[in-house]
């Protein structure tokens, strides 16, 4: 079973919602659509569900043209970012709604719904009204309603983004277990997210979208290790990768008059010229023998400390894996872990990665 989108394009006004999106989804796999807001994630999900028109392109599911089938006959399930349920029905009737719509037998409906309620942890809430539930519980109802259909395509549009931090972490693990246990060989799961950490944790294939266009697709590891260009590196890293403009001249990498270093081993046969160098915030260290930088801002986040530094025009963000107090405008010495250096060309495409490139 395969879902194929072929050259989907949708441009209602000036901007592309979808721009030549061609993808192949296989059953039994989890795909994460990663991109910023308005990057086309929701558009793609809605197009697959049949809720949004397209200008050109085809959607083919199980060898058949999907685009002529109306939404209500497609057997897809979708969970929205907002907690969308039927406010006039109680929890049980909300979850039973799609089954009643299929004219299933009452006893079967009761069985299916109670299984789903058990799975999402809403036991004892069957008779509650939706308005009496917390946000997390409302989203559980929406998830149960999408699971109970046993749809072949399950679309999740940032389902956790409106929840508070702790709940989001808990639910993400729980959701992941539900997906993996339920994700038998015959359903395709698409999960839209703006959060690169979430995408990495879900550990499925990642599709990076920007302005309706696919920038990169591959396994989470692959996208993390080898972002094909600067834009992908920005979308798939939080904190964003430091992108530093510099040049290469006589076997040296020159970021400015003070910060210069040898070319690392994995960067081979590179010609002199201007390049963009990428280094993750966690791939630099405080080092007494390092380069001098001024502290602009120091923020403590959980068990980590972020330092925003500058030296002349060179701005970088450094991540320290401990809680430490720094005074703003103080000086620190830092060094780069050059084995983790990325090199992008003038247009922003990846030239060298510290990881083995395919």
């Amino acid at each position: 079973m395969k879902l194929v989108t072929d050259n989907l394009t949708f441009k209602p006004e000036k901007e592309y919602f979808l721009n030549k999106v061609s993808l192949e989804f296989e059953a039994g796999k989890l795909y994460t659509l990663l991109g910023r807001t308005l990057s086309g994630k929701t558009s793609l999900l809605k197009t697959i569900a049949g809720l949004q028109p397209i200008d050109t392109g085809n959607i083919i599911f199980e060898g058949k043209d999907f685009s002529t089938i109306p939404v209500w006959k497609r057997n897809v399930a979708m969970v929205y970012q907002q907690f969308i349920n039927y406010p006039h029905l109680n929890v049980f009737d909300n979850i039973a709604f799609p089954l009643k719509q299929r004219k299933m037998k009452t006893s079967d409906i009761e069985n299916e719904v109670s299984v789903a309620i058990h799975k999402v942890g809403l036991l004892g809430f069957e008779k509650r009204k939706i308005q009496e539930l917390s946000g997390g519980q409302q989203q559980r109802v929406a998830l149960a309603r999408s699971l109970v259909k046993k749809a072949k395509i399950l679309l999740l549009d940032e389902p956790l983004v409106n929840l508070d931090y702790k709940l989001r972490e808990d639910l993400r693990n729980e959701f992941k277990n539900i997906f993996t246990s339920d994700l038998s060989a015959n359903s395709i799961l698409l999960y839209a997210s703006t959060d690169p950490l979430e995408a990495m944790q879900l550990n499925g294939d990642i599709i990076v979208l920007d302005e309706g266009e696919i920038l990169q697709s591959g396994t989470a590891k692959d996208v993390f290790e080898n972002p094909t260009n600067i834009k992908v590196s920005e979308i798939t890293n939080d904190p964003a990768m430091n992108i530093l403009k510099g040049s290469i001249d006589s076997n040296k990498i020159i970021l400015n008059e003070n910060v210069q270093f040898k070319i690392p081993k994995h960067v081979k046969n590179i010609q002199a010229g201007t390049y963009h160098f990428g280094i993750r915030a966690s791939d630099m260290i405080l080092d007494d023998k390092g380069f001098d930088f001024n502290i602009d801002i120091s923020e403590i986040s959980g068990s980590e400390t972020f330092l925003h530094l500058h030296q002349n025009e060179l701005n970088i963000v450094l991540l320290i894996e401990e809680v430490k107090n720094f005074n703003e405008n103080d000086k620190v010495k830092i060094n780069f872990n050059l084995d983790k250096l990325y090199v992008f060309d003038g247009k922003g495409d990846l030239l060298f990665s510290p990881f083995k490139m395919n």
Binding site: L51, V71, Q82, I84, P87, H88
Partner: protein, 282 residues
């Protein structure tokens, strides 16, 4: 200090209640008076201050041949016309409002907002402007002095109210709810009737209430478009007036005519405060 505010609050509520209820009590008292009690100075309490009489009420049910004004038939005419016109207006108006809220229409420079405005614009003109066209049109259709002609006219007057209220209401119902219904296997009509309508009950009630009130109190069109065959309550009440103003029967008919609205208000009041949509979106 708290006691002071509480006292002040209840004082204001009491004064306001008196202000609202007093005319009704006064009308009720007057309806049991006769000529002598009305003209004999201000009196309020029956038996103590004046001898109650049922004359004011009897006139309303007595046949014209015996000197009364039979309001029973006009009363049911009014109920029939108001209810039918309101119901049709709500059904048509709700469907139109849903379409205007959910689908994009474009014909040249005319877009959704212009269509909505077209509906509302029907109420901008003073009724007198509409009277002659309506008269001619109903005459052409042979529907003058006819209940169905009146219903037709009232639909024109009431539907804009329904459209106006419901467009606003549907715009506040998240579109994702309809989409979810489609995904869950409803076709667009099922999505509308099974999901959108049940969640729009507060809006429907408000719209229905407005339609009923505006339909019920209309005097102008009922007066112009009917003659002898059919009559509506407001017209008949005015017909009560004669050389000697019969305050007792006018009071009685005023109470009778306002009664259905009070009953409707009591029935729908609890649905209005429900706030059914809270929690649909967060």
């Amino acid at each position: 200090m708290r006691t002071f505010y509480l006292t002040l609050k209840y004082l204001i509520i009491t004064l306001w209640s008196l202000f609202v209820i007093a005319p009704f009590l006064w009308a009720l008292s007057t309806s049991f008076k006769d000529f002598n009690s009305v003209t004999g100075g201000a009196t309020y309490i029956p038996w103590l201050q004046f001898e109650p009489s049922l004359e004011g009420w009897k006139v309303l049910v007595r046949s014209p041949a015996k000197g009364g004004v039979d309001i029973i038939e006009p009363y049911f005419n009014s109920i029939f016309v108001t209810c039918t016109a309101s119901l049709i207006s709500i059904i048509l108006g709700t469907l139109a409002a849903y379409a205007l809220s959910r689908f994009k229409f474009k014909a040249g420079f005319i877009k959704n907002n212009d269509i909505t405005f077209f509906f509302i614009s029907q109420r901008i003109m003073p009724p007198i402007v509409l009277s002659i066209p309506f008269f001619l049109m109903l005459g052409f259709l042979g529907l003058l002095d006819n209940l169905f002609g009146l219903i037709l006219v009232y639909i024109v007057l009431l539907m804009p109210i329904a459209v106006w209220i419901m467009v606003d209401f549907f715009n506040k119902v998240p579109q994702e709810i309809d989409e979810t219904a489609l995904i869950d296997g409803c076709n667009p009509y099922q999505a509308f009737f099974k999901v959108v309508v049940p969640n729009s009950i507060p809006g429907l009630i408000v719209a229905g209430l407005f339609c009923i009130i505006f339909g019920w109190i209309d005097f102008f069109f009922a007066f112009i478009l009917t003659f002898t065959e059919v009559q509506l309550l407001p017209v008949k009440i005015v017909a009560l007036n004669s050389s000697v103003t019969p305050w007792w029967s006018l009071s009685a008919s005023a109470l009778v005519s306002v009664a259905p609205l009070i009953v409707v208000a009591f029935i729908v009041e609890r649905y209005l405060s429900k706030g059914n949509l809270s929690g649909a979106l967060k």
